[in-house]
Symmetry: C2
Subunit: 692 residues, 2 copies
């Protein structure tokens, strides 16, 4: 448990200084200014007075138990100080100091030394190169962090790798008067990890929403498990920095992390039920809605406005975000007609017209919330000069009481009327400035609802021959090499993947037997690690109709491509089906990712490939199939039969089991697979598979 | 010229009232509060005192010439009052009153009457059902509008159909201290039109940027011409309300306009060089950048930050928006190395690190702006406690002086330091709160640059046989009917579109002659208006290899489908090529739109179709081809030859000329076209063509 970190009884600030620009000074100031409930002990070997407090020369001089220390002294002094902290019985050390892993091998060594010292004494280290933590819970009110945003209690907790981004999230909650619950920006993550903190937030009753920013995952599997345990109960909203290759390189130069964790992050977020964002402000606005509003029971939005244009913007953005426009019952329409002006428009959006007053708004909001087929409501209000804005806020609030459906309000007004916004916020209603923002916030709530409610099942226990697979993998383990085609196909077959009939051909003498096994028409392929692009090298001949054609083709191929490592493979020629690609890639720290897409232009032009963490449950396999833009092709277009989706689901699971069972499979690329209409198994007709 | 509207010498307010919530009162207040340079004359038949001014009983009593009146009296009284205004010599009347076209036929009749009365007296009517106009030019300072945002001079002019949206645009410029130049929200557009006002803004020297919101286009061609004349000199930023079908319906119920103008709007915006947006706030933020920054010479962005995370967000969003990360010259890198801290990161983003001061920022900004291969610069700054924020603003300003390249600043700070933001804005630097916003604003400047600089050519004068086409069209004009296939193909051929060889077959006796003309293999098709889905009805037989097969097919088809209006067509069977679709659709008030896309899944699954206004110049035809996601397929994938792009360009132009020359062609659908590698003409193998 991390109570010693987030609910410390006393805090020591090692490196506290009278210099008001120093980190140690600012931490003392933040702890005292925001009313930390325990005592704060500035520590400085030179003693002195810091913000009217007498500094202690050593943590050992402090007269009571200290759970947490903030350390902002020179990097090389840290291990020594931790030694003292250990003797003092300190439980957690926030290390602000930089100059560790992020600066190269020397710093890395120092970091290891620091962690070793800490662990000898049972101290957990947060950081180094970190901002610190906050817990605005009024029972604790700890601001053990050197940033500038005032602390105010709220119910959104923040966990950010980057300090600048964490502060940004905090700042914009503050700007709308919301504050936050717990906060941390964790820097180098040398000991205490992000997933541990996430799990702690998950258990915290005062945390309703979690916002996170991540640059790189140190322990992806731990993150996945921690997040998946939380999202059924409370939403996690996430941004992964570096979603473009250029951004990924920037992450790398910022944190020294491996590039290209973005596919992994997206797959993990989906599997864990984390709501993903790419835009910082959009995530903040969604968190604001989630901090007071429940997830909607469905995706049907009702919109109320007193001016046309913003209502249309709301419609456009809602539809764009996957929401549907609700339709009112006859009774609901009658109620609106009775309550509103004759000029009002009773469709969706309801346009109450500019002259509508607080009672019109009350009627419209309460009517829509009472509609069984309306799942959420957005209220737009431009302050007309003749409207009582205090009454508007009160009546909208009253109309929402007793309903669990989410409501957001968009207000168009200027500074003279800002108390309207404050009143609505005080009534726990999220307020935005643009109709699009309201629509996106509600759509984010809907995304969370969909993630939370999707079916969860165990990975199915399919009949696979793990022993047979192990025998093949064992032959190549540790050699970091591509498997010969024949063995790669055997490996797939061991896991129940449908493959063409085939036979290895060492020389012309084998042709007759091979052809008997495989049948005509057939395909002759060279099978050699060096010949990667087989077709280009003349190493594939298709459509061999009879023995004569086969012999001729073999003679030509043997003359062109031969050598000690070269063999040949005769394969059944499958009739063409819908081309798919399916692959897996080892993902260090997580296991394997499964990749799926349609072949041809979908992958080449549109990069239309989905990824998921192996192994897959049935709903996860379906979700992966549905995640690609080309999914309608699989369902069948214009009365065409489409692919056998059950068989495809089975195939995805089998490949995911193989990848999951053998993390030594560095990469596996089934390309193409031919998928067929119902009743015919999808078949892998080519495979590349590398064992590490 | 609209000087009488936007630069009136005197304004009468007809319907002025002492009721502070009435429109007439608010207009008087706005005119006087913001210091209109001419006299204001409240007019009320009851007389009385309005805001300390004696009201006149009639406009005829006003003692001097009045250019402009605002009218907010009951709808039925308006024509009578306009009669008086006419006698007074009023030039422009803003009609705020509602109850005209928007309420149905009766209002429509009243609107016609009003316009007729006005035109008898040489009055131009603005509105009705409109908010009014503003011109913040200090020489005029006219706020003839009943809204609440304070008026402050700026250089962005706004034209909005919807009042709520217009006010929103104005409000958020005000919120960042920018103000605006001219403003109008034009309501029903009964007389004075949006394109006229746009043209006036275009000529106004004080207008640097134009922002517009449109729900429906009353005269699309006039808009296209007005906008195209402006965008080479100043940017127009636009939102079209109703971009989804649901939103389009909402527009329809708001304005009574035809639905589905969105494709037309997008085609017009592109052709006119208008920068399109779908998000209101994003458009406002782009306008803010354009109000002080020039368009960049290229798309390469340089990013400076003092904290990692937001720098990465800036990279991700920049790349996502089509910008490239600039690379520094060796000299530039050396300069950065010399000027910055040792821990600074000298790549892109340049991370000057949190402890950087104003001189570090100055060095980074001036170095990047001096780099030949850097086209624009984004500066991110989080206020570290030890930084002199006044010096930061000053030094960043100094670094940008003397450079025409656009610079935006993103500041992360809280209310205590807001003077930093004010100082930067006072230095004409756009300031944003999020890195993504800065990247998007620069990307919008780049989009404007690309639109402005794209090649403009006349529509080429190709050899087409207009007389032959006219002969065919004349036979069907006014009948609103589909052409028989044979004639539709003849029409295409008259404009030089390549079509298969073909012959009409009336009965079995014609088969021999027809086959001689067409050759084998060939295709037999039924050609009857009723049989729209020919293939489904068994009305198409492909791959007829010889006379016997043809005779058999004809006998079967004739037995299945016969009748007085049925004929048959024998066509050359073209070898399959890349399937394309090309079409045209009459677009009332504009002419015709040309639609282009790849066939099959691209159109069916991805709706990947581009549109442009007919006729097309060569660069416009190329742009239309490039606008679809599937364009790489046309260029050729994986070493495949791709389509003959010159021949395709020619085809698009020919079809656009046909559509442009014959607005009677209500729709034309060439689906599929087979495109081939260079040297072989793309050929239309099926066509549906309706003449209205």
């Amino acid at each position: 448990m991390l109570d010693g970190l987030f609910r410390p009884r006393a805090v020591g600030v090692i490196g506290a200084s009278a210099n008001p620009y120093s980190i140690g000074h600012i931490v003392v100031r933040n702890l005292t200014r925001y009313g930390f409930k325990g005592p704060v002990f500035p520590v400085n070997p030179k003693g002195g007075v810091i913000r009217s407090m007498q500094a202690y020369k050593s943590i050992l001089d402090v007269p009571c138990d200290v759970d947490l220390v903030n350390i902002s002294i020179r990097n090389t002094f840290v291990p020594g100080v931790l030694e003292e902290c250990g003797r003092k019985g300190v439980k957690f050390a926030i290390v602000h100091s930089a100059g560790f892993k992020e600066v190269g091998p020397e710093g890395e060594e120092l970091e290891r030394e620091m962690v070793a010292t800490a662990h000898e004494h049972g101290i957990r280290v947060f950081g180094p190169n970190s901002q610190g933590i906050q817990n605005a819970d009024p029972e604790v009110s700890v601001y053990a962090n050197f940033t500038f945003v005032p602390q105010k209690p709220g119910n959104i907790s923040i966990i950010a790798q980057g300090g600048g981004m964490g502060e940004m999230l905090k700042l914009h909650l503050h700007n709308v008067g919301l504050g936050h619950r717990m906060y941390c920006s964790y820097g180098n993550e040398c000991d205490l990890t992000m997933p541990e903190i996430l799990a702690y937030y998950g258990q915290d009753e005062g945390t309703r929403v979690i916002m996170m920013q991540t640059e790189s995952f140190k322990d992806p599997r731990a993150f996945l498990e921690a997040a998946a345990a939380i999202t059924p109960h409370k939403p996690i909203l996430a941004i992964k920095a570096g979603r473009t290759s250029e951004g990924s390189l920037a992450v790398s130069s910022h944190t020294g992390a491996l590039v290209d964790q973005v596919t992994m992050a997206e797959a993990m977020y989906r599997q864990a039920g984390v709501v993903q964002f790419t835009d910082t402000h959009e995530m903040i606005k969604a968190a604001i809605a989630m901090s007071t509003q429940d997830a909607p029971p469905g995706n049907r939005i009702g919109i109320i406005t007193n001016t046309g244009g913003p209502g249309i913007q709301a419609v456009d953005e809602s539809v764009n975000q996957g929401l549907e426009l609700a339709k009112w019952s006859d009774a609901g329409t009658a109620k609106l007609k009775e309550a509103l002006f004759a000029e009002a428009s009773l469709g969706n959006p309801v346009d109450v017209v500019a002259t509508a007053d607080h009672n019109h708004y009350h009627a419209a909001v309460s009517t829509l919330l009472a509609e069984a087929d309306t799942d959420m409501v957005m209220v737009f209000f431009v302050t007309a000069p003749f409207t009582d804005i205090d009454a508007i806020a009160m009546r909208i609030k009253e109309a929402t009481e007793g309903s669990d459906k989410p409501v957001v309000v968009v207000v168009e007004t200027f500074s003279e009327n800002y108390r309207l916004i404050e009143n609505l916020r005080a009534a726990d209603l999220p307020v935005y400035e643009f109709a699009e923002d309201g629509a996106r916030a509600l759509a984010a709530l809907n995304r969370y609802a969909l993630l939370r409610e999707r079916p969860r099942e165990d990975v199915p226990d399919l009949d696979v021959n793990r022993d047979a697979a192990e025998t093949i993998v064992a032959r190549y383990r540790g050699r970091d090499t591509y498997l010969p085609q024949a063995e790669a196909f055997d490996l797939l077959a061991a896991y129940g993947v449908s493959v063409p009939r085939m036979a290895v051909v060492a020389g012309a003498d084998d042709l007759e037997t091979a052809a008997k096994k495989v049948g005509f028409p057939c395909v002759l392929k060279v099978d050699a690690a060096e010949v990667v692009h087989k077709s280009d090298a003349g190493g594939v001949v298709l459509n061999l109709a009879d023995m004569a054609a086969l012999q001729e083709a073999f003679a030509a191929m043997h003359a062109a491509i031969a050598g000690p490592d070269v063999s040949y493979l005769l394969m059944e020629q499958k009739s063409p089906g819908q081309e798919l690609i399916l692959g897996a890639k080892a993902s260090p720290g997580l296991g394997s990712l499964v990749m799926f897409g349609l072949g041809g232009i979908f992958v080449e032009v549109l990069k239309d490939v989905g990824a998921a963490v192996a192994p897959l449950s049935r709903p996860e396999a379906r979700e992966l199939m549905r995640s690609i833009k080309g999914y309608p092709v699989l369902e069948g277009l214009r009365g065409q039969p489409g692919a056998d989706l059950d068989a495809l689901e089975d195939l995805l699971i089998r490949v995911s089991l193989l990848a999951g069972d053998f993390p030594d499979i560095a990469e596996m690329d089934l390309n193409p697979i031919f998928a067929y209409p119902a009743g015919q198994d999808p078949t892998a007709v080519d495979v590349r598979l590398r064992i590490s």
